[in-house]
């Protein structure tokens, strides 16, 4: 259901202010969403003054700098730092993206960093994605092929293979799903752009034999048709993919089959 306001325990309060100690003249303010599960306090926004002269270019570098030099208690996920693993997905400057590929120079004014929107927060910038993973499992993202030829490669024509371009690159960072207002209001039933893009990746694969079953499974008023082409997903995708188009392709396949 549409719930515009945050529940009482999620209201964000003003937090601590960490003044710069390096004496640098090139300073930026970084506002970071904080929530500590060990006490019963509401989430807060802590503000850090960061010396930008000694900070590498990406938002993740900025976070690492804060964690290493100012406040070690801050928690966030990161791994590869090259836009491949999708761990450091978060909301920066009002838009979802990967902290490791987003240059902080692109952000004007204070840098606001929040966890991915409309998720249960586990700590600070870490949101709980277990619902999304369950939904991902529900589309059965693996090849279903009855042919048993273990000694031979399962070949695909160049044309069929090219249909997977723009789909297989998805790293499941959840930037798109958590940017979608439909997914905010109906996240428990609507599959969301990330999972639907994955569903389409298997529907369109020429080697898969269960296209009809897959289509049937996803053809649901809530699972699929909660997509109203708001296009926030495509705007958010840090890999430049187009979930909105993938969802439209599923709808089109269902309408024409």
């Amino acid at each position: 259901m549409v719930q515009i306001n945050l529940p009482p325990n999620s209201k964000v309060q003003k937090g601590k202010y960490y003044k710069d100690k390096t004496g640098s003249k090139n300073i930026r303010k970084v506002n970071i969403y904080r929530w500590d599960p060990s006490n019963d306090e509401n989430p807060r926004i802590d503000t850090y003054e960061v010396d930008m002269d000694n900070c590498p270019s990406k938002v993740l570098d900025l976070l690492n700098k804060i964690k290493n030099e100012i406040d070690s208690s801050i928690a966030y996920r990161r791994s590869c730092a090259h836009g491949v693993c999708g761990s450091c997905a978060m909301n920066m400057d009002g838009k979802n993206g990967l902290a490791c590929t987003k240059p902080h120079k692109e952000i004007k004014g204070d840098i606001n960093i929040y966890p991915l929107p409309h998720l249960k927060v586990q700590k600070d910038l870490i949101g709980d994605l277990s619902t999304l993973y369950k939904q991902y499992e529900s589309v059965e993202p693996w090849l279903k092929n009855s042919k048993k030829n273990d000694d031979k490669e399962n070949l695909q024509s160049i044309e069929d293979r090219s249909k997977l371009d723009g789909l297989y690159e998805c790293i499941m960072c959840a930037c798109c799903s958590t940017s979608c207002p439909s997914y905010w209001w109906n996240g428990d039933k609507y599959l969301g752009p990330a999972v639907l893009l994955q569903a389409y990746r298997w529907i369109i694969d020429s080697r898969d034999e269960e296209r009809k079953e897959r289509l049937k499974k996803v053809a649901d008023e809530l699972k699929l048709y909660r997509c109203h082409t708001i296009m926030n997903c495509t705007n958010a995708c840090p890999k430049g993919l187009n979930p909105a188009k993938a969802i439209a392709s599923i709808k089109k396949m269902l309408a024409t089959s």
């Binding site: 515009i4 945050l6 529940p7 325990n9 999620s10 964000v12 969403y33 929530w35 599960p37 019963d40 509401n42 989430p43 909301n91 400057d93 009002g94 838009k95 606001n112 929040y114 966890p115 991915l116 929107p117 409309h118 998720l119 249960k120 927060v121 586990q122 949101g127 709980d128 940017s179 207002p181 905010w184 109203h228 082409t229 708001i230 296009m231 926030n232 495509t234 705007n235 187009n242 909105a244 188009k245 439209a248 392709s249 709808k251 089109k252 309408a255």
Partner: protein, 128 residues
């Protein structure tokens, strides 16, 4: 996981894009249009009851609020029609690229005002 985990902020912090703005406006104008069509039906029904009603409504349309209502109606319908055409192209699988959707989005916004002005000029017998 504990029960009291907070919900991360969503609509409060998320930036508006042209596409999301049009999407919500499309819904709002859709609801408004249903109300407006009902009002237009009532208006026509009232006309059948005699010329006193006609004069009464005519007087209302002469007021500022009446004029605003008429222009608002024209804009609401214009916006809905143009946005719906955009949706029809999407249903064909066309215009999903970020750049294209941005351009068509701007076309819908500016087009709705141009169409409103066009209908105004047409209604005032300034052309044709």
């Amino acid at each position: 996981m504990k029960e009291n985990n907070p919900l991360s902020p969503h609509i409060q912090i998320y930036n508006w894009h042209i596409s999301s703005l049009i999407s919500i406006s499309h819904r709002i104008t859709g609801i408004i249009n249903i109300i407006l069509i009902t009002l237009i039906c009532l208006w026509t029904a009232l006309l059948l009851l005699g010329d006193i009603n006609y004069e009464l409504i005519q007087k209302f349309f002469e007021t500022f609020f009446g004029k605003f209502l008429i222009m608002g109606t024209v804009w609401s319908f214009s916006f809905q029609i143009l946005s719906e055409i955009r949706h029809l192209f999407w249903d064909l699988g066309l215009g999903f690229e970020l750049k294209t959707s941005k351009i068509t989005g701007l076309l819908v916004i500016f087009g709705s005002f141009i169409l409103t002005i066009f209908v105004f000029i047409l209604g005032r017998n300034l052309i044709l």
